[in-house]
Amino acid sequence: MTKFRIDRRQTLLMGAAIAMPAIVPSRGRAATEALKIGVLVPTTGVHASDGIRMLKAHQLAAKMINESGGLKSLGGAKVELLVTDIQSKPEVSRAEAERLISRERVSALTGAWASATTIPAAQIADRNRTPFMITSAVNDALTEQGMKYVFRTAVKAKWFGGYIADFLDYQKSKGISVGKIALATEDGPAGQAVRSNYTSVMPGRGYPILTDETFRTGTPDFSTIATKLRTSGADGLLTCAYAEDSTVLLRALAAQGFRPLYVGFGGAHVNQTVLAAGKPSDRTFGVVEWSPDLNKPASQAFVKAFAEAHPGETPLSNQAQAFVATYALALAADAAKSTDRNAIREALTTLKITDGPAAVLPAPVLSFDEQGQSPATCVIVQAIEGKFVTVWPEAVAARPPAPVQG
């Protein structure tokens, strides 16, 4: 058995030696001095396009931190991202989290796009007492079940309805009245949570729901759903759908000449694919956690840095969350003066970011409550002339909302 172990370790060492340039950014420093953060992203599988985008944001944060001198309290230690592809599958996410924790001995983890792939990884991290910074999953339970090592920069599913109701109240105050709502949500992990939230919140805020339609992602035809929405008598439509499904739905609505006040959900709506649909997506709103034209200096700096690193590309809301997540972990390590997992966890509970390069998200303060949840807020953007523009809240808006018709 001893012989077997040595042989295997030799093979792994050889493999590591060959592959080292691929996974470790070339630096002059010894590897042990870096802050190792495990990054779980789907770069293959159904969520690949989102995962690849998220990765760019994580990498930009690491680059910016390292180029400005690294973690000062640790002698300029660099942030080292150990990136892994979770293939859009929960069991792979779980296994990779385990590997990064026990094999690569990362100080913290971040990721893992969808709720289904984040839940198992977060559980493993919590069980292994390793901080996990959720970037984008909205599933409420993640910061409601007392997992001490799990933190989240994203908004909880149950908060979105409230923000939309706030926006609709604002519209009402400006004379644009939306009385009755219809819902169209995808019948999977993202949509089901949002639908529960909307159905429990909206009626209480004075917005009755007349009809609530579901569809499975990949549905090729939305004519019947569009008819049901149109004939329901609703003048507002709240949706939760992946970008590709949104384009088919929007075209179906346009084909019927039905133009309600449309609010799409998150980065899945506020997305180049949706804009590519052209006129049908024009004047639609999206409720997102962040927008590139946000009126905050750190946010502008992030957008600029991103454009320099990836010419012609503008980051999406979820990418800002990934960027902030990476920064939060680094800042916590810096504050804790340590790369120890527990020290980082402690530091996260007292972290308060109000300015600096990490103050990118719209909420005034980035901090984490006793359940690890940050007081994340939303903004409403609108597709105007082929771009998404922030139109609410007034404090950070680039311009007021444009009329839905005309």
């Binding site: 690849i52 019948d187 004519s223």
Partner: protein
Amino acid sequence: MSTTIFLQALLSGLTNGAIYALVAVGLTLVFGVMRIVNFAHGEFLMLAMYGGYLAFTFLGLDPILAVFLVAPVLMLMGYLLFDGLIRPALKVPEINQMAVTLGLSLLLQYLALVAFKADNLLVTQERSTASIWLGPVLIQMPQAIAALASIILLGLFYLVLRKTDLGLIMRVVSQSRDGAALSGIDISGTYRWAMAIGLGTLGIAGPLMVSALYVNPHVGQLFTLKAFVIVIVGGMGSFGGVLIGALLVGIAESIAASWLTASVAAAVPFALLILVMLLRPEGLVPAGGSR
């Protein structure tokens, strides 16, 4: 459920069904003639959809015209696929055949991922939001065009099968391969044609569908299972069966979706499959004949 909604669901179901028939007919042709199920069928549709997208974006070709470019390319692929992979696969046990075509399906998805990245790509034209109203209900233009093309093609198929020599040969080979061989028919040649035509139909479906939908490396997966269901419900190797099966699946799916939660509704085609397999396993419109 109001009458309007029911009628719309029915009309949409028929339209979708016609489109599904176009996708499934290649599968049933290949199975009927060669007795092999191509698990990568959906991936060839995906490639044809990319073809339509590329023709539109880089050559400015309307998808209807792109069909004349993409279909021959898919036919060529079918031709090459037969000699390269399917012919050797016919010699190994069925379970190995499944592994081969499943492997091919995944291989093609990853090749597409490398070539085209993961993004969803759209073909956006004036037509994309145009519609044809029939009283209180409507068909969207891209879907209508695809459905029409499907019906024309199936009609053409019927004529080819019944009236031409090639059609006769294919029917003979479907019914009895050994008998056909004994009569001097070139089995390999027939198989090759069947594969080429089978994938060629996807070359017609692809560009027309990409203008109604979108394309990404995994879009084929949405149709493979559905095509299986249709082919079995209709009857493996049966043309009339494909249309009936497809219309049935389209309507069942559409009406179920307007009535039940989406996930339960999505189970309906499979429930239909199970029902048909148990009550009439040869399919609703059996092709007849055996090996």
